[in-house]
Amino acid sequence: MNKSILSAFAAGLIFGLGLLVSGMANPEKVLAFLDLFGNWDPSLALVMVGAIGVGLPFFYFAKGRDVTVLGKQIQMPSRRDIDRPLVVGSLLFGIGWGLAGFCPGPAVVATGAGEIKAIVFTIAMLAGMGLFALVNRPGAARAAS
């Protein structure tokens, strides 16, 4: 098997197991974290602390490089502007996240766990992404912004 396929698979696997260990894959726990004005469970703030704490030095290391040890081009996002799609899109995402307690990664993991409700959420999410791709495909009329 191609090395870069294997490494992407391993990364996905570790990512998914991390979501399970952390509690992020449980919408009840996510909503308890988002319930800032109720009986607040701050645990998930520490998921971010753990993830960024580990990620930071590696991302810093990668910044000065062009290719990986597998010879792949390192693609770092270069945009720094805060535009309307970023703001509106993130807000819509936050509302959906608060309604169900699922963001994309945990939805896929809970789907893998065989949860019917997670499967329904994931299908709707993929439909939303497909809808977006359809509207934004090259040549499609762009919505006025």
Partner: protein
Amino acid sequence: MTIDWTAFTPWSALAGGAMIGLASALLLLLNGRIAGISGILGGLISRTPGETGWRAAFAVGLLIGPALWALFHALPPIRIEAGYPMLVAAGLLVGIGTRYGSGCTSGHGVCGLSRLSPRSLAATLIFMAGGFATVYVVRHLLGV
């Protein structure tokens, strides 16, 4: 605001977070790509040439994690309170919103903050605020 200390699980949250950070670092240092789940799934839908293999492999890894876990240990609880109409509405919002906003909790939250991107910081603050506000409205104003 009161803190629910009985539900507080700092060590598993930190450990799981560290695994997520490690996975993101692996994908960056080996594949040269950002571990943004919405970007990976959205990319599978729009099928960029040459980018489908690694994306599919990552998604399969995410998907089979629970099955692998279940071979050794009972899965942790996954409790989903929302009803089906709510799940569909939420799924559509998350799907459209993450693509329009170029990222989610992983791409903007973990990877974006790890590379100190102001754009990702703004996105993260906005979707967190959206999540806090939505739960406030649903639980404390509508009382659902």
